[in-house]
Protein backbone atom coordinates (compact mmCIF):
# COMPACT_ATOMS: atom_id res chain seq x y z
CA UNK A 1 0.00 0.00 0.00
CA UNK A 2 1.34 3.43 -0.94
CA UNK A 3 -0.20 6.71 0.13
CA UNK A 4 -0.42 8.06 -3.41
CA UNK A 5 -0.58 6.58 -6.86
CA UNK A 6 2.57 7.20 -8.83
CA UNK A 7 2.53 10.21 -11.13
CA UNK A 8 4.76 13.14 -12.16
CA UNK A 9 2.72 15.29 -9.76
CA UNK A 10 4.71 13.77 -6.91
CA UNK A 11 7.62 16.00 -7.94
CA UNK A 12 5.60 19.20 -7.53
CA UNK A 13 6.79 21.65 -4.88
CA UNK A 14 5.78 25.02 -3.44
CA UNK A 15 8.67 26.88 -5.07
CA UNK A 16 8.32 30.07 -3.04
CA UNK A 17 8.56 28.07 0.15
CA UNK A 18 11.44 25.99 -1.21
CA UNK A 19 13.39 29.08 -2.28
CA UNK A 20 12.97 30.48 1.23
CA UNK A 21 14.14 27.23 2.79
CA UNK A 22 17.25 27.11 0.58
CA UNK A 23 17.90 30.79 1.24
CA UNK A 24 17.77 30.28 5.00
CA UNK A 25 20.20 27.36 4.73
CA UNK A 26 22.60 29.42 2.61
CA UNK A 27 22.60 32.31 5.07
CA UNK A 28 23.12 29.99 8.01
CA UNK A 29 26.01 28.18 6.31
CA UNK A 30 27.79 31.21 4.88
CA UNK A 31 27.37 33.78 7.64
CA UNK A 32 27.11 31.67 10.78
CA UNK A 33 28.81 28.36 10.18
CA UNK A 34 31.69 29.52 7.93
CA UNK A 35 31.77 33.23 8.93
CA UNK A 36 32.24 34.30 5.30
CA UNK A 37 30.85 37.24 3.34
CA UNK A 38 29.29 35.81 0.21
CA UNK A 39 29.18 33.12 -2.47
CA UNK A 40 31.14 32.30 -5.63
CA UNK A 41 29.15 30.50 -8.33
CA UNK A 42 30.66 29.20 -11.57
CA UNK A 43 28.13 29.95 -14.31
CA UNK A 44 27.97 27.48 -17.20
CA UNK A 45 24.96 28.97 -18.91
CA UNK A 46 23.04 25.86 -17.85
CA UNK A 47 20.00 25.57 -15.67
CA UNK A 48 21.64 24.35 -12.44
CA UNK A 49 24.27 27.03 -11.94
CA UNK A 50 21.77 29.70 -13.05
CA UNK A 51 19.24 28.60 -10.43
CA UNK A 52 21.89 28.48 -7.70
CA UNK A 53 23.07 32.00 -8.55
CA UNK A 54 19.51 33.34 -8.64
CA UNK A 55 18.61 31.72 -5.31
CA UNK A 56 21.80 33.17 -3.81
CA UNK A 57 20.99 36.65 -5.09
CA UNK A 58 17.48 36.39 -3.68
CA UNK A 59 18.71 35.55 -0.21
CA UNK A 60 22.14 37.23 0.02
CA UNK A 61 21.65 40.20 -2.31
CA UNK A 62 23.44 40.75 -5.61
CA UNK A 63 26.45 42.38 -3.94
CA UNK A 64 27.34 39.16 -2.14
CA UNK A 65 27.30 36.83 -5.13
CA UNK A 66 30.24 36.59 -7.55
CA UNK A 67 29.88 34.79 -10.88
CA UNK A 68 32.62 33.11 -12.89
CA UNK A 69 32.51 32.45 -16.62
CA UNK A 70 35.06 29.79 -17.54
CA UNK A 71 34.68 28.47 -21.05
CA UNK A 72 37.49 26.58 -22.82
CA UNK A 73 38.30 25.45 -26.35
CA UNK A 74 35.69 22.67 -26.41
CA UNK A 75 32.85 24.68 -24.85
CA UNK A 76 29.77 25.35 -26.94
CA UNK A 77 29.68 28.78 -28.58
CA UNK A 78 26.52 29.44 -26.50
CA UNK A 79 28.23 28.96 -23.15
CA UNK A 80 29.90 32.36 -22.79
CA UNK A 81 27.00 34.56 -23.99
CA UNK A 82 24.48 32.59 -21.92
CA UNK A 83 26.54 32.72 -18.73
CA UNK A 84 27.37 36.40 -19.23
CA UNK A 85 23.72 37.14 -19.95
CA UNK A 86 22.69 35.42 -16.73
CA UNK A 87 25.24 37.39 -14.67
CA UNK A 88 23.95 40.62 -16.20
CA UNK A 89 20.33 39.56 -15.70
CA UNK A 90 21.05 39.03 -12.00
CA UNK A 91 23.15 42.21 -11.76
CA UNK A 92 26.06 40.43 -10.06
CA UNK A 93 29.79 41.08 -10.34
CA UNK A 94 31.52 38.49 -12.50
CA UNK A 95 34.84 37.61 -14.11
CA UNK A 96 35.62 35.84 -17.35
CA UNK A 97 38.52 33.42 -16.91
CA UNK A 98 39.46 31.64 -20.13
CA UNK A 99 40.90 28.37 -18.86
CA UNK A 100 42.11 27.14 -22.28
CA UNK A 101 45.74 28.33 -21.86
CA UNK A 102 46.01 26.51 -18.53
CA UNK A 103 44.53 23.38 -20.04
CA UNK A 104 47.00 23.63 -22.93
CA UNK A 105 49.86 24.08 -20.48
CA UNK A 106 49.00 21.00 -18.40
CA UNK A 107 48.50 18.95 -21.57
CA UNK A 108 44.76 18.36 -21.14
CA UNK A 109 44.00 18.33 -24.88
CA UNK A 110 47.25 16.57 -25.87
CA UNK A 111 46.81 13.82 -23.28
CA UNK A 112 43.17 13.32 -24.25
CA UNK A 113 44.07 13.09 -27.94
CA UNK A 114 46.86 10.60 -27.21
CA UNK A 115 44.37 8.44 -25.28
CA UNK A 116 41.92 8.57 -28.21
CA UNK A 117 44.70 7.58 -30.62
CA UNK A 118 45.11 4.29 -28.72
CA UNK A 119 41.91 3.17 -30.43
CA UNK A 120 41.55 5.64 -33.36
CA UNK A 121 45.03 5.88 -34.88
CA UNK A 122 44.29 8.67 -37.36
CA UNK A 123 42.68 11.00 -34.77
CA UNK A 124 44.35 14.36 -35.32
CA UNK A 125 43.98 18.09 -35.92
CA UNK A 126 40.48 19.10 -37.02
CA UNK A 127 38.88 16.01 -35.50
CA UNK A 128 36.20 16.35 -32.84
CA UNK A 129 35.11 13.73 -30.36
CA UNK A 130 32.89 12.67 -27.48
CA UNK A 131 32.46 9.49 -25.48
CA UNK A 132 29.09 7.75 -25.32
CA UNK A 133 27.37 4.80 -23.63
CA UNK A 134 24.73 2.55 -25.23
CA UNK A 135 21.21 2.82 -23.73
CA UNK A 136 20.52 0.81 -20.58
CA UNK A 137 16.84 0.03 -21.04
CA UNK A 138 17.09 -2.12 -24.16
CA UNK A 139 18.62 -5.28 -22.64
CA UNK A 140 20.89 -6.57 -19.89
CA UNK A 141 24.02 -5.95 -21.93
CA UNK A 142 26.97 -4.45 -20.04
CA UNK A 143 27.58 -0.98 -21.35
CA UNK A 144 31.04 -0.11 -22.60
CA UNK A 145 32.09 3.41 -23.50
CA UNK A 146 32.72 4.23 -27.13
CA UNK A 147 34.45 7.24 -28.62
CA UNK A 148 32.61 9.03 -31.42
CA UNK A 149 35.02 10.78 -33.76
CA UNK A 150 34.02 13.34 -36.36
CA UNK A 151 36.63 13.96 -39.05
CA UNK A 152 37.09 17.35 -40.73
CA UNK A 153 35.10 16.06 -43.77
CA UNK A 154 32.08 15.38 -41.51
CA UNK A 155 32.48 11.59 -41.50
CA UNK A 156 31.74 10.01 -38.08
CA UNK A 157 33.05 6.76 -36.60
CA UNK A 158 32.27 4.99 -33.33
CA UNK A 159 34.94 2.85 -31.69
CA UNK A 160 34.88 0.88 -28.46
CA UNK A 161 37.34 2.15 -25.85
CA UNK A 162 39.79 -0.12 -24.11
CA UNK A 163 40.51 0.52 -20.44
CA UNK A 164 43.64 2.72 -20.78
CA UNK A 165 41.94 4.81 -23.50
CA UNK A 166 38.77 5.27 -21.44
CA UNK A 167 40.62 6.13 -18.25
CA UNK A 168 43.06 8.36 -20.15
CA UNK A 169 40.31 10.39 -21.80
CA UNK A 170 38.41 10.83 -18.52
CA UNK A 171 41.55 11.69 -16.55
CA UNK A 172 42.58 14.31 -19.11
CA UNK A 173 39.16 15.94 -19.42
CA UNK A 174 38.87 16.07 -15.62
CA UNK A 175 41.53 18.79 -15.76
CA UNK A 176 38.72 21.06 -16.96
CA UNK A 177 36.53 20.76 -13.87
CA UNK A 178 39.55 20.88 -11.55
CA UNK A 179 40.97 23.98 -13.22
CA UNK A 180 37.63 25.72 -12.88
CA UNK A 181 37.50 24.84 -9.19
CA UNK A 182 40.97 26.31 -8.71
CA UNK A 183 39.66 29.66 -10.03
CA UNK A 184 36.52 29.44 -7.90
CA UNK A 185 38.63 29.11 -4.76
CA UNK A 186 41.01 31.84 -5.92
CA UNK A 187 38.11 34.28 -6.10
CA UNK A 188 36.52 32.94 -2.92
CA UNK A 189 39.79 33.42 -1.03
CA UNK A 190 40.23 36.90 -2.49
CA UNK A 191 36.71 37.99 -1.53
CA UNK A 192 36.40 35.99 1.72
CA UNK A 193 33.48 34.09 0.16
CA UNK A 194 32.58 30.41 0.04
CA UNK A 195 32.22 28.31 -3.12
CA UNK A 196 28.93 26.85 -4.24
CA UNK A 197 28.58 23.52 -5.97
CA UNK A 198 25.68 23.31 -8.40
CA UNK A 199 24.72 19.63 -8.69
CA UNK A 200 21.08 18.68 -8.91
CA UNK A 201 19.85 15.50 -7.21
CA UNK A 202 20.49 13.22 -10.19
CA UNK A 203 24.09 14.36 -10.44
CA UNK A 204 24.76 14.25 -6.70
CA UNK A 205 23.11 10.88 -6.13
CA UNK A 206 24.54 9.18 -9.20
CA UNK A 207 28.07 10.57 -8.99
CA UNK A 208 27.95 12.69 -12.11
CA UNK A 209 30.78 14.98 -11.07
CA UNK A 210 34.56 15.09 -10.86
CA UNK A 211 36.04 14.47 -7.44
CA UNK A 212 37.79 17.66 -6.32
CA UNK A 213 36.54 19.26 -9.51
CA UNK A 214 32.90 20.31 -9.77
CA UNK A 215 32.32 17.95 -6.81
CA UNK A 216 34.28 20.25 -4.49
CA UNK A 217 32.28 22.97 -2.77
CA UNK A 218 31.34 24.45 0.59
CA UNK A 219 27.59 24.44 -0.07
CA UNK A 220 25.42 22.53 -2.57
CA UNK A 221 22.07 24.30 -2.39
CA UNK A 222 20.13 22.27 -4.98
CA UNK A 223 21.60 18.78 -4.45
CA UNK A 224 18.23 17.66 -3.06
CA UNK A 225 16.19 18.89 -6.06
CA UNK A 226 15.30 16.65 -8.99
CA UNK A 227 16.19 18.16 -12.36
CA UNK A 228 12.50 18.67 -13.16
CA UNK A 229 12.23 20.71 -9.97
CA UNK A 230 15.31 22.76 -10.92
CA UNK A 231 13.63 23.71 -14.21
CA UNK A 232 10.43 24.61 -12.35
CA UNK A 233 12.44 26.67 -9.87
CA UNK A 234 14.06 28.50 -12.80
CA UNK A 235 10.59 29.39 -14.03
CA UNK A 236 9.54 30.56 -10.57
CA UNK A 237 12.68 32.73 -10.32
CA UNK A 238 11.99 34.27 -13.74
CA UNK A 239 15.28 33.21 -15.36
CA UNK A 240 15.77 34.05 -19.04
CA UNK A 241 14.03 31.80 -21.57
CA UNK A 242 17.36 31.09 -23.28
CA UNK A 243 18.59 29.42 -20.07
CA UNK A 244 15.32 27.61 -19.33
CA UNK A 245 15.14 26.19 -22.87
CA UNK A 246 18.74 24.98 -23.12
CA UNK A 247 18.89 21.17 -23.05
CA UNK A 248 21.23 19.69 -20.42
CA UNK A 249 24.71 19.11 -21.83
CA UNK A 250 28.06 18.07 -20.40
CA UNK A 251 29.78 20.85 -22.42
CA UNK A 252 33.04 18.98 -21.90
CA UNK A 253 33.77 17.29 -25.23
CA UNK A 254 34.30 18.93 -28.62
CA UNK A 255 31.22 17.21 -30.11
CA UNK A 256 27.87 18.08 -28.51
CA UNK A 257 27.05 15.43 -25.90
CA UNK A 258 23.79 14.99 -24.05
CA UNK A 259 23.94 13.89 -20.43
CA UNK A 260 22.03 10.68 -21.11
CA UNK A 261 24.38 9.47 -23.84
CA UNK A 262 27.30 9.97 -21.45
CA UNK A 263 25.93 9.03 -18.07
CA UNK A 264 22.24 8.75 -17.25
CA UNK A 265 20.16 5.93 -18.62
CA UNK A 266 17.14 8.06 -19.51
CA UNK A 267 16.31 11.68 -20.36
CA UNK A 268 16.18 13.69 -17.13
CA UNK A 269 12.38 13.90 -16.88
CA UNK A 270 12.05 10.11 -16.87
CA UNK A 271 15.21 9.59 -14.83
CA UNK A 272 13.82 11.90 -12.13
CA UNK A 273 10.64 9.85 -11.90
CA UNK A 274 12.41 6.50 -11.74
CA UNK A 275 14.81 7.77 -9.07
CA UNK A 276 11.96 9.33 -7.10
CA UNK A 277 9.97 6.11 -7.34
CA UNK A 278 12.94 4.00 -6.25
CA UNK A 279 13.76 6.34 -3.36
CA UNK A 280 10.17 6.24 -2.15
CA UNK A 281 9.56 2.52 -2.45
CA UNK A 282 7.32 2.43 -5.52
CA UNK A 283 7.59 -0.87 -7.42
CA UNK A 284 8.82 -0.86 -11.01
CA UNK A 285 5.39 -1.87 -12.35
CA UNK A 286 3.81 1.31 -10.89
CA UNK A 287 6.52 3.60 -12.23
CA UNK A 288 6.65 2.04 -15.70
CA UNK A 289 3.50 3.62 -17.25
CA UNK A 290 4.51 7.10 -16.08
CA UNK A 291 7.83 6.90 -17.95
CA UNK A 292 6.66 4.98 -21.03
CA UNK A 293 8.66 1.84 -20.21
CA UNK A 294 7.76 -1.66 -19.11
CA UNK A 295 8.49 -2.96 -15.61
CA UNK A 296 11.49 -4.97 -16.79
CA UNK A 297 13.07 -1.86 -18.27
CA UNK A 298 12.48 0.11 -15.07
CA UNK A 299 14.16 -2.71 -13.13
CA UNK A 300 17.19 -2.30 -15.40
CA UNK A 301 17.29 1.40 -14.57
CA UNK A 302 17.02 0.50 -10.84
CA UNK A 303 20.08 -1.73 -11.24
CA UNK A 304 21.93 1.00 -13.10
CA UNK A 305 21.11 3.45 -10.29
CA UNK A 306 22.50 1.01 -7.71
CA UNK A 307 25.66 0.48 -9.75
CA UNK A 308 26.27 4.20 -10.07
CA UNK A 309 25.66 4.70 -6.35
CA UNK A 310 28.43 2.18 -5.64
CA UNK A 311 30.82 4.18 -7.85
CA UNK A 312 29.64 7.46 -6.30
CA UNK A 313 30.62 6.27 -2.82
CA UNK A 314 34.27 6.84 -3.68
CA UNK A 315 33.53 10.21 -5.24
CA UNK A 316 31.71 11.42 -2.14
CA UNK A 317 34.15 9.94 0.35
CA UNK A 318 36.42 12.24 2.36
CA UNK A 319 39.95 10.94 3.04
CA UNK A 320 40.03 7.83 5.22
CA UNK A 321 41.86 8.39 8.50
CA UNK A 322 43.32 5.70 10.71
CA UNK A 323 41.58 7.21 13.75
CA UNK A 324 39.54 10.36 14.46
CA UNK A 325 41.71 13.47 14.52
CA UNK A 326 41.09 16.98 15.86
CA UNK A 327 37.57 18.27 15.26
CA UNK A 328 36.29 14.78 14.41
CA UNK A 329 37.09 13.46 17.88
Amino acid sequence: MFPLSFSPDLLKLDYAQEADRIGAMLREAIFHRFKKRGLVVALSGGIDSSVVAALAVQTLGKDRVFGLLMPELDSSSETLPLSRGLAEHLGIQYAHEDISPILEAVGCYRRRDEAIRRVVEDYGPGCQSKIVLPPVVADDQYRLFKVVVQYPDGRQTETRLDLPAYLGIVAATNFKQRTRKMFEYYHADRLNYVVSGTPNRLEYDQGFFVKLGDGAADVKPIAHLYKTQVYAMAGFLGLPESICRRPPTTDTYSLPQSQEEFYFSLPYGKMDLVLYGKNNGFPAREIAPAVGLNAEQVERVFKDIDGKRRVAQYLHSPPVLIEPVGHEQ
Binding site: D139, D140, L144, D162, L163
Partner: protein
Protein backbone atom coordinates in the same frame (compact mmCIF):
# COMPACT_ATOMS: atom_id res chain seq x y z
CA UNK B 1 45.00 -28.35 -24.30
CA UNK B 2 42.72 -25.58 -23.02
CA UNK B 3 39.71 -26.97 -21.18
CA UNK B 4 36.87 -25.16 -19.45
CA UNK B 5 38.42 -26.26 -16.19
CA UNK B 6 41.83 -24.76 -17.01
CA UNK B 7 40.15 -21.58 -18.26
CA UNK B 8 38.22 -21.34 -15.00
CA UNK B 9 41.46 -21.72 -13.02
CA UNK B 10 43.07 -18.93 -15.06
CA UNK B 11 40.04 -16.66 -14.73
CA UNK B 12 39.78 -17.27 -11.02
CA UNK B 13 43.43 -16.36 -10.62
CA UNK B 14 42.97 -13.17 -12.69
CA UNK B 15 39.88 -12.12 -10.72
CA UNK B 16 41.53 -12.74 -7.34
CA UNK B 17 44.72 -10.92 -8.31
CA UNK B 18 43.09 -8.00 -10.10
CA UNK B 19 39.86 -7.31 -8.24
CA UNK B 20 40.34 -8.88 -4.81
CA UNK B 21 43.95 -7.89 -4.09
CA UNK B 22 44.95 -11.54 -3.68
CA UNK B 23 42.28 -12.27 -1.07
CA UNK B 24 39.93 -14.90 -2.49
CA UNK B 25 37.59 -14.69 0.51
CA UNK B 26 34.39 -16.57 -0.28
CA UNK B 27 34.68 -16.26 -4.06
CA UNK B 28 33.18 -19.35 -5.66
CA UNK B 29 33.35 -20.13 -9.36
CA UNK B 30 29.64 -19.34 -9.64
CA UNK B 31 29.68 -16.16 -7.49
CA UNK B 32 28.06 -13.25 -9.34
CA UNK B 33 30.70 -10.59 -10.03
CA UNK B 34 28.16 -7.77 -10.10
CA UNK B 35 25.86 -9.12 -7.39
CA UNK B 36 28.84 -9.79 -5.13
CA UNK B 37 30.19 -6.28 -5.68
CA UNK B 38 33.42 -7.81 -7.04
CA UNK B 39 33.50 -6.01 -10.38
CA UNK B 40 32.08 -2.63 -11.36
CA UNK B 41 31.67 -1.11 -14.81
CA UNK B 42 35.38 -0.24 -15.05
CA UNK B 43 36.20 -3.78 -13.93
CA UNK B 44 34.16 -5.23 -16.79
CA UNK B 45 36.28 -3.21 -19.20
CA UNK B 46 39.41 -4.61 -17.54
CA UNK B 47 38.05 -8.16 -17.71
CA UNK B 48 37.17 -7.87 -21.40
CA UNK B 49 40.58 -6.43 -22.21
CA UNK B 50 42.31 -9.28 -20.37
CA UNK B 51 40.26 -11.91 -22.19
CA UNK B 52 40.82 -10.35 -25.61
CA UNK B 53 44.56 -10.01 -25.11
CA UNK B 54 45.14 -13.35 -23.41
CA UNK B 55 43.04 -15.53 -25.70
CA UNK B 56 43.27 -13.48 -28.91
CA UNK B 57 39.50 -13.25 -29.27
CA UNK B 58 37.27 -10.27 -29.97
CA UNK B 59 34.23 -9.75 -27.74
CA UNK B 60 31.30 -8.38 -29.73
CA UNK B 61 28.92 -5.81 -28.19
CA UNK B 62 25.99 -8.26 -28.29
CA UNK B 63 28.07 -10.75 -26.29
CA UNK B 64 28.53 -8.30 -23.38
CA UNK B 65 25.90 -10.04 -21.29
CA UNK B 66 25.78 -11.22 -17.67
CA UNK B 67 25.35 -14.82 -18.88
CA UNK B 68 28.81 -14.56 -20.47
CA UNK B 69 30.64 -12.42 -17.91
CA UNK B 70 29.09 -12.53 -14.45
CA UNK B 71 31.08 -15.38 -12.84
CA UNK B 72 34.28 -17.35 -13.23
CA UNK B 73 32.35 -20.30 -14.69
CA UNK B 74 30.42 -18.15 -17.15
CA UNK B 75 33.53 -16.41 -18.42
CA UNK B 76 35.36 -19.72 -18.78
CA UNK B 77 32.45 -21.20 -20.74
CA UNK B 78 32.24 -18.11 -22.93
CA UNK B 79 35.97 -18.20 -23.76
CA UNK B 80 35.75 -21.89 -24.48
CA UNK B 81 32.88 -21.34 -26.92
CA UNK B 82 34.75 -18.50 -28.62
CA UNK B 83 37.94 -20.54 -28.96
CA UNK B 84 36.06 -23.43 -30.51
CA UNK B 85 34.58 -21.19 -33.21
CA UNK B 86 36.32 -19.38 -36.07
CA UNK B 87 37.14 -15.74 -35.15
CA UNK B 88 34.16 -13.39 -35.51
Amino acid sequence: MTTIHSLAVEMRSFVITTFLFGEAGDLQDDTSFMGGGIIDSTGILELVMFIEETYAIRVQPEEMLPENFDSVNRVAAFISRKLSKPAS
